[in-house]
Amino acid sequence: MAETRRDHRGENDREDEPPGKTPARDSWDKLGIILQPVGGLLTAIAVAILGFWTSSYLREREQHEAALRERLQMSETNSRLYSELTSKREESESALRKDMFASIINSFLREGPATPEQKMLNLELLVYNFHESLNLKPLFVHIEREIKGSPRRTEYVTRLEQVASEVTKKQMLVIEEGAQTFDATMNTKKLSFLAPDGEAEAPFVAKDLEVEGIRRNVRIEALRADPETQQIQVRVTIRTIEKGSADTTSTELWVGRFDFPMIDNTRLPHDQRLAVVLNNFDVRRGVADITVACFPGKYAGLREKPYYDEVLAKLLAVNRVAGDAGPAAAKPSAK
């Protein structure tokens, strides 16, 4: 209030001053005089700083993007190189395998004096290298027939059984990674199965197996046994319960020592397979030990071609899952 009064007095004083005389300046006037050029300078400095900061930010961003682009390009180049190398290796491997397969299979088909030993060796080569791609049961049976009159028959049969057993074990090891299995002992004389406690006997054995969320009841019924060829015939009944409705399928199959699970299996809906493996057959006692495996189709042999509708259904399911996961994944960040 006093200040205002003083200001008024100042104005009156200035009015009172005679013309031509420089009016007296107070501190505010002086400050105004000083700040007038400094204000311009400060604005210029602020504009310069802002400009420098913006340009350095843009430069940094450009550098970052360039580095990212370079990294992406490098990764693309590496991937291309890797895929080229892989495909070339696959090509050369395929060519080698093709030549190997042709020469081995010709030794069986060609009429000539191949000794049983040579045939056994060729069979072993074929089995160890192509057991995931070919059904070699006919070849096993053919060799077994051919060596019937050989003086070294026992040795050859043992070798055949050893090869078959080894391949079955190898394949089961792979399959069991994604499979649900159960074992059962069959009385081949009474055509019955031992109960899990090993005491009671029933004409069939049944278990629930769940693979990839699909639950199936698998029932194995003993139909016949051939001690001469060491094979058993079973009826497999599969009951799938899905969305409230039950679907039942049934098939009969012979299972022997030379049936390999990756190749000799039954195709089920949803790209799954069911295989029955004969682990042991004691002809004298009349007992056989089997393993039943239900597994995803990706573990089946290379011989099988995929069903395109199943492949499409799988791709669509993957897309659907990705689509569902998208908004769900975005939700927390939106919060």
Partner: protein
């Protein structure tokens, strides 16, 4: 006679080797493998062989004979058993221990 003796010995050895059986597998209870050290006894006729589970609940017992045998587990103060059939090749028996009416039972998975 001298020639026949080694041949007979060889035949006997081969027959003995062929008769050897093996049972192997895992034992679980409520979906979990059994603790290590659970004792197992495989009785085949008069002969018996002992074994035990490892930390993964796995076991393996070899015996000189094949055919019907009984596998006895000593666990929680009880001795549940299961009948097993041994072949010339190793036989897998994945077993499950269940408690039914206060009694332990052993059965094939």
């Amino acid at each position: 006679m001298k020639k026949l003796l080694p041949l007979a010995a060889l035949c006997f050895a081969a027959a003995s080797a062929a008769q050897a059986g093996e049972v192997f597998g895992t034992i679980s209870e409520n979906g979990k493998p059994l603790a290590a050290g659970a004792t197992l006894k495989l009785e085949c006729g008069d002969a018996s062989t002992q074994g035990a589970t490892d930390s993964y609940g796995s076991y393996s017992i070899r015996t000189a004979s094949t055919g019907d045998c009984r596998l006895i587990l000593t666990y929680k103060g009880a001795s549940p058993s299961v009948k097993v059939t041994l072949f010339e090749k190793p036989t897998r028996y994945d077993l499950v221990v269940k408690e039914e009416g206060g009694k332990l039972t052993l059965s094939r998975k």
